[in-house]
Symmetry: D2
Subunit: 424 residues, 4 copies
């Protein structure tokens, strides 16, 4: 959406609509939760859902209201501290690993906080004279909230999944995946441009669009399935050091890892915990919730490799009918479809984020955001790997093919998967 070309009144209307739509979706996502589910933090990576609802609100408060509305008074003095995630330039913040120690503010208080900020925001946005610089910040704030919508689903899944009573998030039964035929798509050696073009939203880390010399390669149209991955397990993949990175081998042994995060073996049968409950493992569905270590080991075991992120972007951008693709993506998201688990393994993207072999770092000519948002991306460019392609939990209007998601190589509570590549 190229809103810069709209008139002031149109901009105002556009952003009020977007703001309300996106803000409401965050609370709607949580509507199935019990109060207790909003509050706990089973591991440091996973934040309590009520914290996400507070933090995304804090974000608008800090980047817009406090800066632009002279008459604005913060809802609660302590929230500045409690809902700051990691922005050192915004003052001190509560420690990430201790978010689950806080019973207060209650969910109800957080909801009141959201309303308070929303009222100010909508009021402020009604003003047709707001400059594009502020609207650009607002647009980042909306994408930030959408990022947290995906995090909410990841975190809710972890909270429910670590509970021995296996609570069900959605009662809607999951369908079954269809069998998949592996197809390789080939690309020729040459110079390819990668990165976000001007026009349309993107984060600072997707720019500038720039040239890369890429050698010829093939990439799989399908992601690795549960059935494929089970074969790796059954052939002893977790027990053979030769497939593993050195740090990966330590991770496997120190943490007694032997299968993807949500798999469970019960009475000699494999199950998978999903947001739709504990189901028999669907062998045709994409494997998900694997770490970089596991993705890399699987690829080595198959005698191939993971793609780098440039190859992945070239592949994603080359879809025969890109507009159809994006529409498809729209439909795939849980919000629309009510399906919160990847069950399409055939020629599809947008089901699972695929690990690339690329370390997350700045593109040539990378310019970070200025001000508080300089901390948004650049400072994490260390010991993280890039994932590409979006997943079932990614809000469709938030996604674009230049999107660079990133996680540490041992993390796997996101909907991560494996797309193979090879030299040709």
């Amino acid at each position: 959406m190229n809103w810069q070309q709209l008139s002031g009144t149109e901009k105002s209307k556009y952003f009020i609509d977007e703001y309300l739509r996106i803000r409401e979706f965050s609370t709607a996502l949580c509507s199935r939760l019990e109060i207790e589910d909003y509050t706990v933090q089973p591991i440091a990576d996973v934040s309590p859902p009520k914290w996400h609802l507070g933090h995304t609100t804090w974000f608008f408060e800090e980047i817009i209201l406090v800066k632009c509305l002279s008459e604005y008074t913060r809802f609660h003095q302590q929230y500045r501290f409690l809902f700051n995630s990691y922005y050192k330039s915004a003052g001190q913040h509560w420690k990430q690993s201790q978010r689950g120690e806080l019973s207060r503010p209650t969910v109800e208080e957080v909801i009141r906080y959201r309303s308070y900020v929303d009222n100010f925001m909508v009021n402020y946005l009604s003003n047709a004279e707001i400059g594009d610089d502020v609207l650009s910040l607002l647009e980042i704030g909306l994408h930030h909230e959408q990022q947290h919508q995906e995090l909410l689903l990841m975190d809710i899944k972890f909270i429910l999944g670590s509970n021995p009573t296996s609570p069900v998030f959605s009662e809607k039964p999951l369908g079954f995946a269809s069998p998949v035929n592996q197809i390789w798509r080939s690309f020729n050696e040459g110079i390819y441009s990668v990165g976000a073009s001007d026009g349309g939203f993107s984060y600072d880390n997707e720019k500038p669009r720039h040239k890369n010399y890429i050698y010829s390669f093939a990439i799989s149209e399908n992601t690795v399935t549960n059935g494929d991955y089970l074969e790796f397990i059954d052939r002893g993949g977790y027990g053979h050091a030769e497939f593993w990175l050195s740090l990966g081998w330590e991770w496997v042994n120190d943490n007694h890892i032997g299968h993807p995060l949500y798999w469970r073996k019960i009475d000699n049968e494999w199950y998978e915990f999903t947001l739709h409950g504990l189901n028999l493992l669907d062998l045709n569905a994409p494997v998900t919730h694997v770490s970089y270590f596991e993705a890399d080991a699987y690829a080595k075991w198959k005698g191939v490799r993971l793609p780098d992120e440039q190859e992945m972007e070239v592949y994603l951008a080359s879809s025969i009918d890109d507009s159809v693709e994006e529409n498809e993506h729209e439909k795939k998201h849980g919000d629309e479809s009510g399906v919160y688990h990847p069950i399409k393994g055939d020629a599809q993207t947008g089901q699972v984020w695929c690990w690339s072999k690329s370390h997350y770092s700045g593109y040539p000519g990378y310019k970070p955001y200025q001000g508080m948002l300089t901390e948004y991306n650049g400072k994490f460019m260390c010991n993280q790997f890039v994932l590409r392609g979006g997943c079932i939990a990614t809000p469709p209007s938030h996604y674009r093919h230049s999107y660079r998601n990133f996680y540490a190589p041992h993390q796997r509570w996101m909907f991560s998967g494996i797309r193979l590549a090879k030299d040709i």
Copy 2:
């Protein structure tokens, strides 16, 4: 209460009344909490209040219903695992430090669990033919629940106290303590008997009553006040190794300890967080929430020492009018008085548990309970120190002078205080 001498019907009535009174008090204590307060676990020592409500119920389920009622079916199969605290003979249990990771069962489900078990229990107790052995187990179960009532207040205080918004548990204003004159009471050298007599309830660790050779000593009628302790701080007590045990000195330095747990210095003024809110420090009130390390260092700084537990019991038992004393104790408890903080520093016991210099171990001739309850006391007789005298949070009908409370030397989230002694 010597219920063994009652008739079967009287026993039945007596125990049904006690059971209902005590069970209701647990939920009543929590009635001021938000759902979120029931759920979190800021540190491993502190359990979520809903866990206490479930665990005390599990206790009756395991020691009475499952054993004595052949038709009994457990409320939920997983609760056997989730609400077992540490009884290895009762099967596996959820890890203590991870209780706060569980959003389910919800508070509402736990309350339903309590009702389910209560119905079975009252029904079962209506039977006038129950043997005294089962009633003895029941009596332990009731005292166990009362122990957890004190833990509930301790844990609620920690949960609220670690929240930067300092939530208030009771709106009732705290009064002020009166000034205290230190009085020493002396005891002559000789043989003294210590421990619980037969008749009346006591735990296995209070028996048998036995003789001790005690040298002449004096003990303070008053516990150390906040004002006394502040002088220790102001004179640099935390910075001088010579007052501290070796492990205590490490504890102070590794954890940057410089004052009792709930003291806060704000704008150069000392405050204390209490269940009645954040108040200016009352210099006449007993110091509380100090570790054994702090109690011992304070005594050394004063040139005296902590009493041992035998001295403390001799002192407690020697109160001029013991029956008045016990009545007083009755009134002091928060339940009756609505006061959840020690504010009487003058000749009183029952305000704060006083650290003894005695390691917690079995008395000569100690016989642990049999069966599952063999794990109740004996297995903790290592690296714990005994505290004596009861506190404001101890249910009066739960207390007796032979009571041996015990904690590790670094712990201080209980209402612990300091009573000095010296050789004479």
Copy 3:
């Protein structure tokens, strides 16, 4: 030895002889070591032998030379810091767990340091006018050095024992223990005095001698043998929570403990690493290198208990022919006999330190040393258990029946063993 009654010249001669004898024995003990053996620290508890040689020298430097000899100049300014173990009043000290990180000073430099201090000491002691207060400090210094001689053997054993090549300390073959018949000795209820009398050396923690009310008990004349203990293992003792203290059960499981420290199972045969090499386990010899947790669990499994330290002292002091006993003890020490391993399981003391069930704390009326040595004993009276009776590595002239050795309940690199007791 009651040296106070000697003349000044006799005192001088007595102490010079003792000083030289004891100091030389420390280096003699190490004479079998390679330079590399003097230097390493496999775990924090174990110090490099060269550190012991330096620290015992530092002790004389700090308590005598620096205080009493105005013209004395320290051998090396950094040694004050490097060889201070934990005396806060003597300034800062190098961290205990990092002693093995230091390649310098070399062994040769430490030996030069010893000679330097020895020369000053002998010179100083030649003076017949030295006051008894200084000679008392000197006497403590000599006992301190003897304590470290036992530590040297413990630490050397650990250093060699943790090496996969199992180096041999003494080539002298170990004999075999004779079979043992368990005999219980009984004591009547009554008041018993315990603690060191005046006259003769003792540490501050052994005083004052004081009365105890002791109930009738029986104590085993023999310590538990390897054969006895093996039965505990074979019957699954390490796998049954009911025998273990709560902290002990955690220790067993967290550290995968399944046998005494130096036992090794090779090709289904039990061996024991000793200072005489890796030998087949001698079933008649005393079990040694067990923790308090193991000793306590073994006693519970046998249906009896550990003695408390008062019972143990009463027992030790009651030996039918005490003078013979002490002579025997003399001969048992490795120095005289060349045997550095307990192989006598029959009616003997002095082979292994026996765990008592008593927590290490001050006797009634305990007065710690003044000055720097106030840190010698008192500050460790927390979370340690007392062991009694001496061991094969204890220098005979260092031992007396009132001796209170102490270790944390998980430690077991000392020559610790088990003597059972029971109520009668």
Copy 4:
């Protein structure tokens, strides 16, 4: 050296000479050490020098003797385990962080081990019929030993530098660096080839030579000096989060980092510990022993950036007179010059390894070694950053411009430094 073109006899002579020269240099490097210096391991990253001497010997034993000499018997059965660093395919290995716990084998035994293997090796190499495949392994073994020669100097420096007595490795006085004028060299946008060509030795990770699209950039001819870096410190660089990666900021704060590894502030004066002793900080000399975090923060503070490894290789390869450059490099190494510290800050390479912003990963088309050596490089391609250019401790005949050194971003005990780059 293109030895493949030599005759069998010439090859034999060439490799025997090289083998003896390189093997002797390892022990020569250690000749200034005390036995104790060979033995300790102050931190997990630093290995005891005697371990390096053993491990490099083990390497030849495992890759050549055991494989190619049927009559060969290992020197000691346990060494296979003790001197394996991390090769899972070569069986179990002693844990890296515990190398300093081993007093045995002694230095003398390790030297005997070296002689034993050297005799077999020279004997074996006298055979003119050895295939090129084996000679290629041997060549890797020689480069492996040279890598460990650099590690030896790093580790010796750390061992001596962490000792409070600051021992001196070389008595030769260090000269002073000349003042430096910063000069930027520019490169145009275009396709550049990077990586090792065939002919000449290189590791698997330097291949294949491949094309990169590189944007125009400038790179500094000089590395950052101590004086430059001191300004960063004095301006509060370590206290401002905005210059630091998120992980770097944690590292700085958790470890209280405020200056390069070997800097010491004494009486308000900056000193630097070097292998030539503790010297006043030379402001004109290159800053060294900085982490990636520090290099990156310094560059951000200067408003520029670190080069990526491709830019660095293009720069290194473009030296006007490359052969002169390599000769210069030859002379710079401590071995020839007796200088073990970087003191040339002007237009020089080879003084300090310069951090690139590139994550260490496989080049397009990367093929790891086969067999045991597959573990040599590939398995470390995770969470490491590439350094380029060689340092004063790198054996000259070991170095080439395609060399990819790599370390984790917090490590800094190697001779690492900073070369700045910028977009133009």
